[in-house]
């Protein structure tokens, strides 16, 4: 390990499918990168784009949104709403200077513990390759002191 950059990845996962899939990975003693911080939401459709922005603002290097496969949503079509927002969110983040690889949308069911492991490992390596986002430092705004009167 040593000096290797360890990214911090926020995972916003739905209660009914992906969180259960992550649980399956755990109870099955599968190993995956310890770089993820899971946040359980009731539905991937509950993921306000502001949650993703807040994660980046607060120091996340990547954000993974994960929910039920289309057609399997516990609330019929909540994940479809996420599906429609995602391409615009990803493109908008690129305009902010946040690379596409730092955000990912995946459908992971309750029986797909192995998929959860693969996605988390893949994303960890992809974000590791991109390096730290370090938003607070790189996008800091400080008002310069100005004591000099323009009237002089």
């Amino acid at each position: 390990m040593g000096d290797r950059f360890e990214p911090r990845i926020a995972v916003l996962c739905c209660n009914w499918c992906t969180y259960a899939g992550a649980d399956l990975a755990g109870t099955s003693r599968m190993k995956y990168a310890p770089n993820v911080r899971l946040v359980r939401v009731m539905c991937s459709g509950r993921v306000d784009p502001a949650f993703v922005l807040r994660a980046f603002q607060d120091g996340a290097d990547g954000v993974l949104i994960a929910g039920c496969h289309p057609g399997d949503c516990h609330y019929i079509n909540g994940n479809h709403k996420t599906m429609r927002r995602f391409p615009v969110l990803q493109r908008m983040l690129r305009q902010w200077g946040i690379e596409e690889g730092r955000i990912r949308l995946e459908w992971i069911s309750a029986s797909e513990g192995d998929v959860f492991v693969r996605v988390v490992n893949e994303m960890t390596e992809a974000v590791r390759a991109l390096g730290p986002l370090d938003w607070r430092t790189r996008a800091a705004m400080v008002v310069p002191e100005t004591t000099h009167s323009p009237a002089e």
């Binding site: 784009p49 927002r85 391409p87 493109r91 996008a139 310069p144 009167s149 323009p150």
Partner: protein, 327 residues
């Protein structure tokens, strides 16, 4: 101080002058303002010197209406100076309140802006690569220019602000409501937005809206014949109304132009751009990922559309400085 009259100052920073013109737009009511107030500073209309302002006592001004964002040393100096001289500081208009259109420059920094403006735009002719200098010695003396900042700031990011009057520009009704509140002392707690609504533009918009809106395709206003009765968003136009504070009377949608969001975010909004993104894309007619990607590709500039007036006060506030990482 004059006999009990309201001591009023108005100043412009990084702005277009529209806010100052908007004050005149109240028409004959300007006489009521003049009757109630001594206008002590108003650079667009009368001649004043900064020396005069520096000579005032602290707190001598009752109300300062400050329009424009802050992006250079002169503007920051005046913001701090007027803050000291004024008992009540009002961020007047979208630029002072949220950064406004100039705030979009937070996607760049000073170097990349100078490269464009003094370098490669089609209308730039600058073979010697001259850049503005903050000081120049000439035989007659020293010439100075303000120092240009990397960042564009909303006024409250530079000095404490009591009230916000949104709009690009604020409508005459918003201005009169705000000024009457100030003159009568009938003011909400500091930090409030005055002269505007607490509900969205949609609440004031007279267009017909369906219970479950669906957008078939996105369009630009010039590409379609707009149905004058139906909700613009449902017709596929990028209307910011649902994410925007009302109070303007929904003037733009009334004339078939989608709301651009100049009254800023709704009360308790986390991030106006996120609100607009969610509102506009969630209701798209797309049952699979490929359709969603193809159809949303028609939204040419999501960031510029959703944060047109509020980039410096958004969650992310600015892009990282230095060369752009994206394409």
């Amino acid at each position: 101080m004059a006999e009990g009259k309201l001591q009023l100052a108005m100043y412009w920073a990084a702005s277009c002058g529209g806010c100052d013109v908007a004050v005149l737009d109240v028409n004959e009511k300007i006489l009521d303002i003049a009757a109630a107030a001594d206008i002590r500073l108003w650079p667009i209309a009368m001649d004043f010197k900064y020396h005069d302002v520096e000579g005032w006592q602290d707190g001598e001004i009752d109300v300062c209406l400050f329009n424009g964002a802050v992006r250079n040393s002169e503007q920051a100096y005046l913001a701090r100076l007027l803050r000291r001289k004024s008992r009540v500081m009002v961020a007047f208009g979208a630029c002072a309140s949220f950064g406004g259109i100039p705030g979009l420059a937070n996607l760049h920094d000073r170097e990349s802006i100078f490269q464009a403006v003094y370098g490669y735009t089609a209308s730039t002719h600058n073979p010697e690569g001259t850049r503005p200098q903050t000081r120049l010695e000439v035989p007659e003396g020293t010439l100075t220019l303000p120092d240009f900042f990397d960042d564009v700031f909303a006024l409250h990011q530079v000095v404490p602000v009591e009230y916000f009057v949104p709009g690009c520009p604020p409508t005459p009704k918003t201005i009169m409501t705000a000024i009457e509140a100030i003159v009568t002392g009938n003011l909400p707690p500091p930090g409030s937005v005055v002269g505007a609504s607490t509900q969205s533009v949609c609440e004031e918009c007279q267009r017909e809206k369906s219970e479950k809106p669906v957008v078939a395709e996105y369009h630009r206003p010039q590409e379609v014949r707009v149905d004058p009765k139906r909700c613009l968003l449902e017709q596929g136009l990028t209307c910011m109304g649902s994410a925007t504070r009302g109070g303007c009377g929904a003037l733009c949608p009334a004339v078939n132009m989608p709301c651009r969001g100049c009254y800023g975010p709704m009360p308790r909004s986390l991030d106006m751009g996120a609100d607009a993104l969610a509102a506009m894309t969630t209701i798209l007619e797309a049952a699979d990922e490929e359709t969603a990607r193809n159809k949303t590709g028609r939204l040419a500039d999501p960031l510029g559309t959703f944060y047109r007036f509020t980039l410096p006060v958004s969650m992310l506030r600015r892009a990282p400085k230095g060369p752009a990482v994206h394409s």
